[in-house]
Symmetry: C2
Subunit: 254 residues, 2 copies
């Protein structure tokens, strides 16, 4: 598929031992993936790394050099295992300190909720030099954006609030459009023909996803994606004609 | 934390455009993570990459050189977008062809279900030279294991059957044990003290995970993990004493 000149790409970096141990099941990857698709940003890679500075720095530097944006989740709370902000500062080679803007926001929120500011909570105001804050309507303590990296919380409701706050600042590209066609065939019945159609439509990508229907048994969803509506429609016409033909043949030989 | 000499590590490589577009929400990472923890294998990294050969080869080669095992999910079906087996062969620099062992298994299963063998389905019998098959009790077409890489389907029920089949062949290490303590404090109330306890117990890792309780509001789970029961118990004693102290102080000042 030809890449348009304004293709905007992204990676997600999930930071947290609790995801790797299986104790916490990630809910952020799928949410961010769908969100980015909807605003015209192509998610190209995801990594999950432990709460270890070297791992975070290495992954972040690999990803931020390669994609338009990197979204991190996790590790910006008030405890010793929250080392994301410091790791991001290290990756960028900048200093990090308690940020008066973040403190002011947190003081106001904490006062309203009757929570005391202390050494641990001040840790959440540590922001790398040069970063912009990302508002957190959910619980106050902000995320931040530095260069092309958006640093967000791991708690899904807080991450979602931060993503809403960051999104208007992002460059976006031509939105990928997609259509799903229910095949009513097994994947293996159409593999060869579908591959041929995919080759004939280089401006669309065609994915084949098997699923099991409780009533009718093994089935397949075909998903056609393109940034161009005409290319998508042309591929769709060929896919539908092929499906009709194959279903006819299967019926005749059944 | 001191790494025992028999530490067995792993990475997961999820392959699939549908995960990156957000269309399909991954259910395999959390399942495999928990499974590996339970059998004494430390999951250290996860990557999600698109259905692109260069990306799969690069990620696989980075991961298989670094960890004891790499588990891949996705991309071994009968359609043109299933390119995992060929990419794995390329990463290992070996040939790939239709494997008579895989064909025999599939012929038997297909005959029993009245499904015809065809060119597309034969694609699922393409196995890199030197690989061992991994049984698929769910739907027949096998996964495979080559070197330290275990190649599995993306459909969760099939992946789970393959993981069960592969697990008995794997080396495993001393199992990580963990205990969860409900804090009944906010994370920010204990951050400083918890960090001090974590430093005093280098053979345990202590994670702090905020959650919201519908009855009592913001709360925190503390998870202590160690391979040594004595180290875990010692850390637990200190964490519980600290929690009692902090809760007392909060009550007195409330």
């Amino acid at each position: 598929m030809t890449a348009p000149s304004n293709l905007i790409t992204a990676a997600i970096l999930v930071i947290g031992d609790e995801i790797l141990s299986g104790r916490t099941k990630d809910k952020n990857i799928g949410y961010i993936a769908e969100y980015l698709t909807n605003i015209g940003i192509d998610l190209k890679e995801v990594r999950v790394v432990p709460d270890e500075e070297d791992e975070i720095v290495a992954a972040l530097n690999a990803l931020r050099g390669r994609y338009s944006y990197v979204f991190t989740t996790g590790g910006i709370g008030p405890t010793h295992d929250d080392i994301t902000a410091d790791s991001v500062a290290k990756a960028f080679g900048v200093s990090i300190d308690i940020d008066p803007r973040a403190v002011a926001i947190m003081q106001e929120r904490f006062a309203a909720r009757g929570v005391e500011m202390n050494e641990a909570r001040l840790r959440m105001a540590r922001i790398p030099a040069g970063a912009e804050l990302v508002e957190n309507k959910q619980s106050g303590a902000p995320g931040f954006m530095i260069g092309n990296v958006i640093v967000m919380a791991g708690v899904p409701s807080i991450m979602q609030a931060m993503l809403d706050a960051a999104a208007p600042r992002l460059k976006t590209g031509v939105k990928m459009i997609s259509e799903t066609i229910r095949g009513d065939v097994r994947e293996g019945d159409i593999g060869t023909e579908l591959g041929e159609i995919a080759r004939q439509h280089p401006n669309a990508t065609i994915g084949s996803y098997p699923f099991f229907d409780d009533k009718s048994g093994p089935n397949t969803n075909l998903v056609i994606r393109s940034r161009d509506a005409g290319s998508l429609a042309a591929a769709r016409t060929d896919v539908e004609a092929m499906l009709k033909r194959v279903r006819g043949t299967l019926k005749a030989t059944a």
